[in-house]
Symmetry: C2
Subunit: 388 residues, 2 copies
């Protein structure tokens, strides 16, 4: 079968999502010479609207140049199609004679593929290829996009640690992660030594408590004269409400058109600054919101991540031959191996940091977590310990 | 003369301030075998308190390892000594028999050296070696520490541009710079193409005006569907008050113990988010505060910056032989050359971005500025243009 393959990218871009695109396109060109490969612009929106680029017209060199560029070359979307929208997507796929549709994205993307697979009655093979900086896809040891983002965060916290040894104070780095603390935890991957940053880690999986936070900081300042903190955007109080909601008066909260609280990194940063100014007056403190900076940074495209993202794309083609599903990355004790699970196993599900990755009753990471991080992100920079 | 040299680091750490330390220490060891080199801990505080490490006991390999590590290995200080404090510093220098004192830092550091040089009656040679990520030392074409920080910022804005082509919206990156817009301007150094980020640049040298800001953004969105903005922490309104002061009710402003407005990146970020939510409702917008991230990041230690910082340190030793002063970096049309000016020429003075670096009546950078940036920061990453 020469056939027609459609590929699209969904959700937030990463440093290596284009590797997955290229891995799939190149594998198709090798296994199915003459096959047509269409890239949909802006995810399923492009499929629905008939907006494609013909990837099979590109040379290998062009595809490899795209592969090593961060961002999502085909554009992306945050659309979460309902049944009606899915009908239009299927129409769009049929209109181009698609035999298979490979959609690269997170758990929402897998959810869209699940709906499409069923609605197409199996006539169009639907494959989900994994991608997320949050590392929160179930069935996966880790996900393409995570390690590069983690490299950024690890490097940033090592750098800030050196900075704050020179000019001590309190530093809070707010890292993306609404539901899972993996990216925030990666702040510890390259910690300089026993007393290295981050000293405290606050993740969505653990309830945040203000007085404990201040106590933790006081204790750290007494020991190290500085305190460097990694905090997820999604931390919430014991009642499950986000930290911002617990700290900001209701009438001052921003809401989106649906009435949902608009949570931004800046809201949380300001709330944290207020807490510190009120409860630890006079202590020098800085709060930075990493925001999108780790997510597709040209300076921290991790080579392992790039390789695995490419191979996941190639495996997606194998997944087509096996009738569809969600491509997974597993660890066999030595290396990453690629597998396939049903779309339903991944769709809409979120993996949280395992309980044993956090030390009981302390806001720091366990050795199990640090070993996991060390495996994915071996130290890259040789750093001399300062005299202070 | 074998002699005794004291070296210290002052102000904010950078990616390459340890290169300057090593450059000086190694030059001394070559020119004055047997000379004692003392590194003061935490700047002049260490001199005052008699807290030193003996750098001349370190091997060349150890010094080079320190050289390539970001942060300030000796520790630093933000102390701005008055006359009484300077007396204590001089006492400290005499107590160790110092013949010369090399202080690596910005314009405040030069100011301290100016006071000390006079107070010592010329008996202790005082040299200022340049350092700042803000690039705001007068008499210098550019300053050690700037290019590495600029590399971070340039890479970040290129990366965000790729990200926002995939998922369009408004992005504001807030970059450090209380008085000078150079670091903010470096966001444009690796702009992808004619329509590349940053689309708008707001610096302290130009009065910020809210309605113009919104107008600028609307026009950009109409052209490019996205709008990426680089903004300095120090932007101020036409009356000279900081942006935060103009936007936040007086009673809500944070003040430090001296009654000065506490300006933080998060305050500005939140103020900007409010403006966007009120004046451009419904438009997806993200505001991130880069904060300290560019300042000594392990992933963006620029090789030119490292080399020049090292050479500036070596030249500081020559400056000792010439009786003291402030080491400068100049551009002779082809390369960087090192010079010496009186401490008074640099002390306490701030260089602002030249007027001609900004396009008249537009919030963007002129070709002159872009050429300057291109000279210091040639493109490092090959990036394929996305399809969107």
């Amino acid at each position: 079968m020469a056939g027609t393959f459609v590929i699209a990218q969904g959700g937030g871009p990463t440093a290596v999502i284009n590797q997955t695109l290229a891995g799939a396109a190149l594998k198709i060109s090798r296994r199915y010479p003459g096959a047509r490969v269409l890239g949909a612009l802006h995810g399923v929106r492009g499929v629905r609207d008939g907006r494609f680029v013909t990837l099979s017209d590109l040379s290998e060199a062009e595809l490899r140049a795209i592969a090593s560029t961060p961002g999502a070359a085909l554009g992306s979307t945050r659309d979460k199609p309902d049944a009606a929208y899915c009908d239009l997507i299927l129409k769009g796929l049929r209109a181009v004679g698609a035999d298979a549709f490979i959609y690269i994205g997170g758990n929402d993307t897998a959810g869209t593929q699940e709906i499409l697979a069923e609605a197409s009655g199996g006539r169009i093979v639907c494959v989900h290829a994994p991608k997320t900086i949050d590392n929160d896809l179930v069935e996966n040891d880790h996900t393409p996009g995570f390690i590069s983002a983690a490299e950024f965060v690890a490097g940033a916290f090592l750098s800030v640690d050196l900075d704050f040894r020179a000019l001590p104070g309190i530093y809070v780095g707010i890292v993306m992660g609404r539901h899972a603390g993996f990216l925030t935890a990666s702040a510890a991957a390259w910690s300089l030594d026993e007393g290295g940053a981050p000293h405290l880690v606050y993740v969505p999986e653990r309830p945040f408590e203000r007085s404990r936070f201040i106590e933790d900081i006081r204790a750290t300042l007494a020991r190290h004269r500085r305190c460097i903190i990694a905090m997820s955007e999604g931390v919430s109080g014991p009642d499950g409400r986000s930290l911002v909601e617990t700290l900001v008066p209701p009438e001052m909260l921003e809401r989106d058109p649906h009435g949902n609280i608009r949570l931004s990194g800046s809201d949380l940063a300001q709330a944290v600054e207020r807490i510190l100014a009120e409860d630890l007056p006079g202590k020098r403190a800085r709060v930075d919101t990493f925001g999108y900076l780790p997510r597709g940074n040209v300076a921290t495209v991790n080579t392992t991540d790039a390789k695995e993202a490419f191979e996941a794309g190639a495996f997606a083609v194998e997944a087509v031959e096996r009738g569809g599903g969600s491509v997974t990355l597993q660890f066999d004790g030595e290396k990453t191996v690629y597998g396939l699970v049903p779309l339903a196993a991944v769709a809409g599900k979120t993996r949280h940091m395992p309980e044993h990755f956090l030390v009981p009753d302390e806001n720091r990471l366990s050795d199990a977590c640090l070993s996991y991080l060390a495996r994915l992100l071996p130290r890259k920079y040789a750093v001399a310990r300062p005299f202070v």
